[in-house]
């Protein structure tokens, strides 16, 4: 059994306009020591999937179903529908999360020491000195020099990259089994981005944790992840190991994403390709493939574009470990 098994996870938000199906039957696994990237554009359900795992979705505003089983050292836990106080004991201890914008994710009024120590104290009944020592240890681990003095600094006294390091230190203070990194480098400039991704890689091999890396940037995925799930309109549309996905995308959406990455080796003066159209509304999803209206490959499908518009393809395994949701059934794109 895998470390984390998510199966048929659904998250729906009832709104006055209708039911928003933000996550629509998502199934995936994550192993210990592995980085799974979840890629997709805004509104594809990647963040909501992970907020559901963390139990951070408001109970009153959302409907959850499906299952997410996490294997702990001694027991297995069903994360969906866990009671609030039990979930709280897991949050920050077994599962930790870092967020997109380190500028606004740290509390502006408290020192970073206070905030890291607080995270440790929330799950360990130890003296403040123990937590302080642990905070210093973590700050050193994430590469912040002069850690014992920097504990007394406030977030605004750090640069963006340093703040993200602080966030990582805070997330790792209780040695979590799973780290969910929600666009951890989106708000950072490119050189800092590379440093943070490298740091995450190093910490992972040191701590043997699983990482779910949420991003919309396939460039980030290439260097940082082992496997990739591509999400579109609340569904996983392709899942493969990173090299396999880059070399041989089976779903036109993935193909479009890959084609829209700027590349140095493709020569100057060429326009970047873009996927025409807009993602569908999550309230009125089409009966068939949600990507069909934007897809340029529908004519090549056996049965034609009508088949794409009327029936939803299943997520099928084409080569070992490479799944795609497309009627093209593994044809070379």
């Amino acid at each position: 059994m895998s470390f984390l098994e998510v199966s048929d996870l659904r998250v729906e938000f009832p709104t006055s306009d209708g039911l928003v199906k933000a996550v629509d039957g998502v199934t995936f696994t994550v192993e210990r020591g592995e980085t799974l990237a979840i890629v997709g554009e805004s509104g594809s359900g990647k963040t909501v999937t992970n907020l559901a795992l963390m139990g951070l979705l408001s109970k009153r505003g959302s409907r959850l179903s499906g299952s997410a089983i996490m294997k702990g050292e001694t027991s297995t836990l069903e994360l969906i529908d866990l009671a609030d106080d039990q979930m709280r004991k897991i949050r920050g201890k077994n599962i930790a999360m870092i967020f997109q914008d380190p500028m606004s994710s740290l509390h502006p009024y408290y020192t970073i020491g206070d905030q890291i120590i607080e995270a440790h104290q929330a799950h360990n009944e130890v003296d403040i000195e123990v937590s302080t020592a642990r905070a210093i240890e973590l700050l050193e681990m994430v590469g912040i020099p002069d850690a014992s003095n920097r504990l007394k600094a406030f977030p605004h006294q750090f640069s963006g990259g340093m703040r993200q390091r602080v966030m990582i230190a805070m997330a790792l203070v209780n040695s979590p089994d799973l780290l969910i990194a929600d666009e951890p480098t989106t708000a950072l400039d490119v050189t800092v981005q590379a440093q943070i991704l490298k740091l995450l890689r190093e910490l992972q091999s040191e701590l043997k944790m699983a990482i779910i890396l949420i991003t919309h940037d396939l460039g980030v995925v290439a260097g940082a992840a082992d496997r990739v799930n591509v999400m579109y309109a609340g569904k996983i549309v392709e899942s493969a190991r990173v090299r396999e996905l880059y070399a041989n995308p089976l779903m036109p959406y993935t193909h479009g994403l890959l084609a829209s990455i700027p590349r140095m080796d493709r020569g100057h003066g060429k326009r970047l390709s873009a996927i025409a159209g807009q993602p569908p509304s999550l309230i009125a999803l089409p009966a068939g493939c949600a990507f069909a209206p934007r897809c340029t490959f529908t004519e090549r499908v056996a049965g034609g574009s009508d088949r794409c518009k009327s029936s939803m393809p299943a997520l099928t395994e084409h080569t070992p470990g490479h799944f795609a949701r497309c009627h093209l059934e593994g044809a070379k794109l």
């Binding site: 709280r88 949050r91 920050g92 999360m97 967020f99 502006p108 607080e118 929330a122 799950h123 605004h156």
Partner: protein, 333 residues
Amino acid sequence: MINYLARRIAISIAILFAVSFAVYLIFAILPFDPAALTCGKSCNDPGIIEANRKRLGYDLPIWTQYLIFLKGLFLGRTFGEGAATIFCPAPSFGYSFQEHACVTNSILEALPVTLSLAIGALVLWLTLGVGLGIVAARYRGRAADTGSTIFVLIGTSLPTFLTGLLLLVFVVVKWRILPYPSGNYTPLFESPLEWLNTMILPWITLAFAYAALYTRFVRNAVIETLSEDFIRTARAKGLSERVVLRKHTLRAALAPLTTMAGLDFAGLLGGAILTEAVFNLPGLGRLSLGAVIDFDLPIIVATTILAATIVIVMNLVVDILYAFIDPRVRVAA
């Protein structure tokens, strides 16, 4: 910080001089002869008027008058000579012929009344406003929130003179719970119970109006803060909802309240004219009102300068407090 303080205090003093001069110009600008005003409405004996003009220095150019006024503030001032000499010790704001007293004495009599009124009301409205606001935000969209909205609506719609009169009609006249306001003020240290008796209805009247505004403000500030990224971080750490609300949300949400409360308080110290009039309280508001009706220029000048001083001082106090609350302000300073 010391530099910042010194600079702020220097600026405040400069503003005070500017304000005092602008206010003093009332003597020169208003189409009244200040000397004629000193001898009452039915008086038209040019002898007395001219004598008073000389006695009070109104015959001198306005610049000289202002300098004498300033000198009086620091050293005290003697009016007239011989047997009719009146000495007003420093800080002297002049002599009021309507009250037949040094202006400073009239103000010192009225100030404790207004102070009692403002402090009591402030305590009451902060308690009520902050408490209700937090409850409304915490239980947004439920009965408690609706209740607070109704309170806000009534509180902001009812003018204080109406609330005050309603309280008088019911509590004092119909139900006879409290005695009729006598127009006398009993200092707190003379008879605490008597003092409370006099002040309780004015407090409620003022606090009602302000508490409504504060409830709305606190509710919105708390709701806004709850959606901040750093609150999501706090929850992701596994902190209990109580800690998230008390430690992380309230400190950030209530910081701007310091400014609001400080300035509202300063405004009231200048005299709560309507409330003092309704409850017949001999405070600064009633003193100013009386002075305006009687054209008692020395008192108008004094109360205006006093009100400006209070606003300037409270601004300074608020800024210093804010630096303690928000570490980002400390650095900017």
